[in-house]
Each structure stands twice: as C-alpha cells, then as structure tokens.
C-alpha cells in the first residue's frame, strides 16, 4: 500500500477567546493516500472546519497550533513561511468551498478568476489559461464554457456555481483536494448531480480527496474511509463500510441513528443525541462524550479512553471498545 500523501499528526489547534483558549482540535491524527477519498464527519463545532483550514494552511488569525502538524511533501506545512504556504495553495492543495455564491468574487467574471487562480502555473499565456479554464468547465459538465467564463457569479445557477467551484479546485491538478461541505448549499436533486459528478471525476484523479461534511450520505457515496470527529477529537476511524455497519464508538452509533436516511417508519419527532457539546475551553478530563453517552461508566468520566484498534485500519476512542 502506498505511503500517505498528506498526514495530520497529533494536531491540536486553539482559538484565542475572552474566556481562554478554545481547544477546537485536540490531538487529531489522520492520513489520506493517493487515489483515496476520506471523509471527515461530525456535528457543528466538532472541529472539522478547523481541520479543513489547517489542511489548506489558512488558519484564522486567532488560531494557534499547540501540538503536532500537517505533513505534506516531507515537511510540516503549518510551520513553513507564509510565502511557502502561498505557493502550496491552489497548486498542490486546493479547496472546494462550501458556499460558491459567496466564494467567488462578485465583481470579477468567472473567467477572470479562473485565470487568476492559475497564477502559479508558469509559462502559460493568459489565453492558454483561459482555454484551460474552459476545458475544465466542460469537464465538470458546463455545456457552454465560453459563456460561463464571461458571467459573474450572481448570474449563474446554484448547480453551475458549484460546478465552477469544483472546476476551479481541479484546475491545477492538485495533489490534495479538500472539499468543505461540497453539497450543503444545494437542493436535493442538485446534490445528487454533484455527488455523481465528484464520483465520476474521482476515476481519473490520482490525488487524495478529503471531504468534510456533516452529511453521512455524502461520505457514504464518495469515501473509502471515514473519520468521525467529536468535540475536537477523532473518535473513530475505519473503512466507510466498517464504520457505517459496525460502528464501535457510541457517538458514531448515535450519529448514524439520527440520520433521517436510516429511519424506516414515520415518526413525529426526529431522533437527536441528548445533551450538548462539552465546553472546549476546559474539556472534560475523561471521555468527551461521557456526559451524553448511554453506556458511560465511572471510568469514562474520570479517565480519557485510549484509541483502540478494533480491526484492520479500524479504531475507536472508547473504553468499551477494549472489551
């Protein structure tokens, strides 16, 4: 099996706040190999967006790396200079943003932006870059790329915008493609089309894909392996099949049970996980999920659980998983 292309290694990130540092990401470790698609799932506030920002080296101003780093191309890309980070972005690591309406500049045409986004590609004239952009738009299923290039983002439909955003990310054939909630802003039919498109593009893409979403269905459709995050920690990882069908962490089980796609009967109340996320300024000393976990014991509340290997490339952060 090939070596990981990008590896998040024991990464902890805290945001400065008035109450003290908010530990948004705590000792997260994950990896993606060439040709592999991994999913990162969890509810809002679990740290998945922070993780996505770290992968593309665009952390917020008040964020601080308190441990670990992101290994790519043989170095920690969070500790290199701003200029080196800039050169990585777009060219080696690219991102598909959540809301394409606001992710494109409103006063420049799509074409002007797609040409600018190839700024790091040397030896290509503006016209050639435009041709590249048109070819990529065609590839993501935009019927009239020339027309699309001359439009402003507000003049495109939601689906076209998301296709253009995907084309932008693929323009320079990056090694790592990070997709932050790629279908959240879309309606259901559009979502199906975009998932279909991403699956198709995967076939001849050799890099690693990281999909960050709260939507279990998207990960199920697209990813080989999945990391489940809760309160800034990776609580379970494994092949999508293992995690969805043989979940070992109680949070993963609860998350799957809450997915409306898994409801077979009509219910007046959608299932939810009772309780709230722990305070990330002072996280609990035991398991972070203990307060909401139906199986929590005294041990769970006092001691942080170990990360237990429960199968081949399948692990869960739970005392119960040991048994």
């Amino acid at each position: 099996m090939s070596a990981p292309l990008i590896k998040v290694d024991d990464l902890s990130i805290a945001y400065a706040s008035e109450e003290g540092p908010v530990q948004a990401l705590r000792h997260a470790t994950l990896e993606a190999r060439a040709g592999e698609a991994i999913g990162i799932v969890g509810e809002s506030g679990c740290g998945k967006s922070t993780l996505a920002s770290a992968l593309i080296t665009l952390l917020a101003r008040n964020a601080r790396v308190t441990s670990g780093g992101v290994q790519f191309g043989g170095r920690d890309i969070l500790s290199i200079s701003e200029e080196e980070k800039r050169k990585l972005r777009g060219r080696h690591i690219a991102m598909i943003f959540q809301d394409p309406m606001t992710s494109f500049n409103p006063v420049l045409t799509i074409g002007e932006q797609l040409v600018d986004f190839q700024g790091q590609r040397e030896g290509l004239s503006k016209a050639e870059k435009r041709q590249q952009a048109a070819a990529m738009l065609k590839r993501v299923g935009i019927a009239d790329p020339g027309r699309c290039l001359d439009r402003y983002v507000a003049e495109l439909s939601g689906g076209m915008r998301q296709r253009a955003a995907i084309a932008a990310a693929l323009l320079m054939a990056p090694d790592v493609l990070v997709a932050d909630e790629p279908t959240t802003a879309l309606d259901v039919t559009m979502e199906a089309q975009i998932i279909h498109l991403l699956r198709e593009l995967r076939r001849d893409y050799n890099g690693a894909i990281v999909i960050v979403t709260h939507h279990l269905g998207v990960v199920g459709e697209l990813c080989d392996r999945v990391y489940v995050m809760y309160a800034g920690e990776v609580v379970e990882e494994g092949s999508t099949d293992d995690v969805y069908h043989r979940p070992r962490h109680p949070y993963t089980r609860a998350l799957i049970a809450c997915d409306p796609a898994n409801l077979h009967e009509q219910t007046p109340l959608l299932p939810t996980i009772p309780g709230r996320l722990p305070d990330l300024v002072s996280p609990p000393s035991g398991c972070s999920f203990a307060a909401r976990c139906p199986q929590a014991s005294e041990l769970c509340r006092s001691m942080a659980p170990p990360y237990v290997e429960v199968g081949p490339r399948h692990a869960a952060r739970c005392h119960e998983a040991l048994a």
Partner: protein
C-alpha cells in the same frame, strides 16, 4: 443598462425642474419686490416698473417659468440686471476657477482618504489605526470655513508660504497652483476624514468575505488580493459617496471662495444674492444643479458598470 441610463437622465431633468420652481417660489417669498429692493427706498414708481419689465417680473409666474426654461435650453440664462452682461458669459468666466478648486480638493480627499483608509486596514487594531481614528473624526467634525481661517492664519499670514487671496495670475500655472492649495485643503479636510473611515470600514468588511478567502486558497499574492479582489469591491460605496460629496464640495466652495476672496461661482452667487441680482442667482443655481446632477448620474452609471450586482437590482 441603456434603459437604466435613460431612467437616470429623466430623473435628473425632473430634479432640475423642481429646483428651479423652488427658486422661483423663493424670489416671490422674499419680502418686498425685487425691483424696489434693488433700487432702494428712493426709487420712483416709473423706475421700478421699468426694472420689473426688464427683469420680466411683471409677467404671470407661469410665463416667467416657461420663458426661463425655454431660454435656458438654448443656453440663454438671462442678463445681469446691472451690467447687462449675459449670465452665461459670467458663469463661463468664473466656473473654471470653481471647477479647478473642486477638482484639486477632490483629488486631495481621494488620495489622502483612500491612502489613510488602507493604512488603517493594514495596521488594524494597532496604534496607527487608533491615531487615524481620532484624526479622521476630528477632520470630519471641523467645518471647512473654520479650517479655512486657520489655514489662512498659519500658512498665509504667519509662514507666508501661500497667497492669502485671489486665484493666481491668469496664464501662470505656478501661481494658480499656489493659490489653490489652501482653499482646496480647507474643503478637502472633512472628506479626507470621511473617506478614510469609509474605506477602512468597507475594506475590513471585504477582506473578511469568503471570496477573499478563496483567493488566498488559490495562492494569490496578498498585494493582488488587496488591489484587485478587495479594493474593487470596497471602492463601490466610495464612488457613490464621492459623487454626492462633489455637491457638498461645491457648496463648501461658496464659503471658502468668500474667505479667500477667490473668483468663482461661489463669490458670484454670494454677491448676486446681496444685490438681489436675480437673473445671475437663477442662472448660476440652474447651472450648478445641472452640473451636479450630471456628476451624480455619471457616477451611478459608473457604479453599475463596476458592480454587476447593482445592474441586477436595476434590471429586476
């Protein structure tokens, strides 16, 4: 875009019409008839009637209004009651001075305002930003005629760097530029403060926008992001303000021209009002209104060209 332009121009014509009607109403609301005010208490009734006739004030008001507009359309703004010179000629003589003053003031305001605004963004939250905040608010709150008097005192009377009065020698650019510095600075200072605040707020908002993050995520240089991606969005509200500001700059010119005894539309209107020289007042006001509306309309069209979202709201 074309239908928008037509709509804008139609609106401008309507505004000119309303302004001139208001001016006419004012002439009739001023106590005493213009002729006796102009001639003084010892004028004979015959003299008064003659003057009324010459000023066209004996006609019914709708005839006067009609005549005024009809003549104005052909470029005839009437004649000075005293010197009998055509008003249009008098305006043509002094307007370049006012325009030059306004243009220099606007240039100072734009360069200094946008520059200071961008500085405040780059040093956001630091000492420079805080000093600029205090400075800008002070510049906004001081009226331009007060600034004018202090500038006169310091730079013209004490230091003697710039002339205190006049617009410089005709044909001598050096002296004209030296003469415009103080009055232009007096007018610009409010706008420097205002634009600095506006550009700062506008830029901060844009720099936090998602599309700036996208541009960063594609490895664009920070300079390119600020100048091409952010400033182009941030400048749109500034253009709207600057266009409206041009009107305010022209009205400050009335004060400042008086303080510096500079020939210009401002001094022309002030002296005409004092002498009840109505044709000159009407003609100058009509001219200034038309000029101002032209600037604002052009700015609106420019904005629609720069920002496709403005165009869309007009289409819909």
């Amino acid at each position: 875009m074309l239908s928008y332009a037509i709509k804008r121009i139609g609106l401008a014509v309507l505004i000119i019409f309303v302004v001139m009607l208001a001016m006419y109403a004012m002439v009739f609301l001023v106590p005493g008839d213009p002729a006796s005010l102009a001639l003084g208490p010892r004028a004979t009734p015959e003299l008064k009637r003659a003057l009324m006739e010459r000023m066209g004030l004996d006609q019914p008001i709708y005839v006067q209004v009609w005549n005024f507009f009809r003549n104005a359309l052909t470029g005839d703004l009437g004649y000075d009651v005293w010197s009998k010179r055509p008003v249009s000629e008098m305006i043509a003589e002094v307007f370049p001075n006012t325009l030059f003053l306004g243009a220099v003031a606007m240039t100072i305001a734009l360069v200094a305002g946008i520059g200071l605004g961008c500085l405040a963004v780059v040093w956001q939250g630091r000492a420079v930003d805080r000093v600029l905040a205090v400075l800008s608010v002070s510049m906004i709150s001081i009226p331009s005629f007060v600034v004018a008097i202090y500038l006169l005192l310091v730079f013209a009377v004490w230091l003697g760097w710039f002339p205190a009065i006049g617009a410089g020698e005709a044909g001598d650019w050096g002296s004209q530029i030296r003469a415009v510095v103080l009055p232009a600075a007096a007018i610009a200072i409010t706008w420097v403060g205002y634009l600095a605040r506006l550009v700062r707020a506008s830029m901060l908002e844009v720099m936090a926008a998602n599309h700036v993050r996208t541009a960063r995520a594609f490895g664009l240089t920070e300079a390119r992001i600020v100048l091409r991606y952010a400033l182009r969005v941030a400048i749109v509200p500034v253009i709207a303000i600057v266009a409206v500001g041009f009107g305010s700059i022209l009205s400050s010119a009335v004060f400042v021209e008086t303080v510096f005894s500079r020939p210009g539309i401002g001094t022309l209107i002030t002296s005409a009002v004092q002498k009840r020289n109505f044709p000159v007042v009407m003609g100058s006001v009509l001219f200034m209104t038309a000029f101002y509306l032209t600037v604002v309309t052009l700015a609106d069209l420019l904005m629609a060209k720069l920002d496709p979202r403005v165009r869309d709201t007009l289409r819909g």
